[in-house]
Subunit: 201 residues, 2 copies
């Protein structure tokens, strides 16, 4: 025995959500149907609207329903620095950390030839155009410190050979507040290689 | 800085789902918008349809888009036994455990005067009608072994005083496969009170 066809289909479709297995999907479906149909209707409406209206910012490619996102429209950001990230979530994390005042460019992924993800798929042609049209002096390659992220950063760097643009990468090292004992070897050795003169202030 | 208004609204509305906090809602919203718009559209469609079409079975009150659910329409179920449960999930759990061949009645909750949940709200009037119209000989009160579940079971029992209907409650005791060491005191003492002659087969 199971639930009625439609209820079963609802549970099935809830599983498109990341980290939602059969049990959680069942709990969600029953919760919406038994306790919060109003919230469910709101979710249907907003999700439908978002899937239709939300696209990429024409300038930085972050997710937005506007043609150009708020950050790109802001006049208080430094136009000479551009930070390349893999996802809008990375962009938000950097903004919340604070301190960075430049612009962004979102790849929505990383190069992955095996999965057929090439330069155009992550908007590198668009990045080229921006570098040509805007007074950008420094490009910060803030892709993830993973094999794919590294490869993508190196590819972008190789494409900019000989351009009058300073390229930089986020510093590798031990995370603040972390205990050396628990830091992985790779990170630790990178931290040694990248060691800085002690300011001692 | 945050995401665009519409993306923020999507994250907000995803929080109607049980167990979904801000971080999970963000992950879900970005996943749907960046990686699975098709799945998102399916979810919108099915959820919308379910919220409109799914109601209660006229006979047992479980969730179904049909007027009478499959189980109630089945001719292979014993019409003389009726099991009262708090939710469709409990009904499914009992069916999956197997062995029970009778009918069901779903309360969709329990009596809770403080929250203004009275007999009609959990369909007890409907239960009365069934008991009057159907050849029911035994009523199994399978509400949860919680204070509210107990109270609800006792209320139903009190309403059926003097009727020629056998009333029963699920057995309390130590869970199968559980270790006594970890069973709570209340359960343990109920297990002693309800001890059975040892069959020794």
């Amino acid at each position: 025995m199971s639930f009625s066809p439609l209820v079963e289909r609802l549970m099935e479709s809830l599983r498109v959500l990341p980290g939602v297995g059969p049990k959680t999907a069942q709990r969600m479906a029953l919760h919406l149907l038994e306790r919060d149909r109003e919230g469910g209707r709101r979710l249907t409406a907003v999700l439908g609207e978002a899937l239709e209206a939300v696209g990429y910012c024409r300038r930085c490619r972050t997710l937005t329903e506007e043609e150009v996102c708020t950050l790109c429209r802001s006049t208080r950001r430094d136009e000479r620095v551009l930070c390349v990230v893999e996802s809008p979530a990375d962009m938000l994390a950097i903004e919340e950390a604070g301190g960075y005042q430049g612009q962004y460019f979102v790849l929505h992924g990383h190069l992955s030839p095996l999965d057929g993800v090439g330069p155009e798929d992550i908007g590198l042609d668009r990045l080229e155009t921006r570098l040509a049209e805007e007074p950008i002096e420094e490009l910060i390659l803030a892709t993830n410190p993973t094999v794919e992220g590294e490869a993508t950063a190196h590819y972008i760097a190789s494409q900019l050979q000989g351009r009058p643009i300073r390229l930089s990468r986020l510093a590798y090292g031990v995370p603040m507040g972390g205990e050396l004992e628990y830091v992985d070897g790779g990170t630790l050795s990178r931290a040694f290689l990248g060691r800085q003169p002690f300011a001692g202030d």
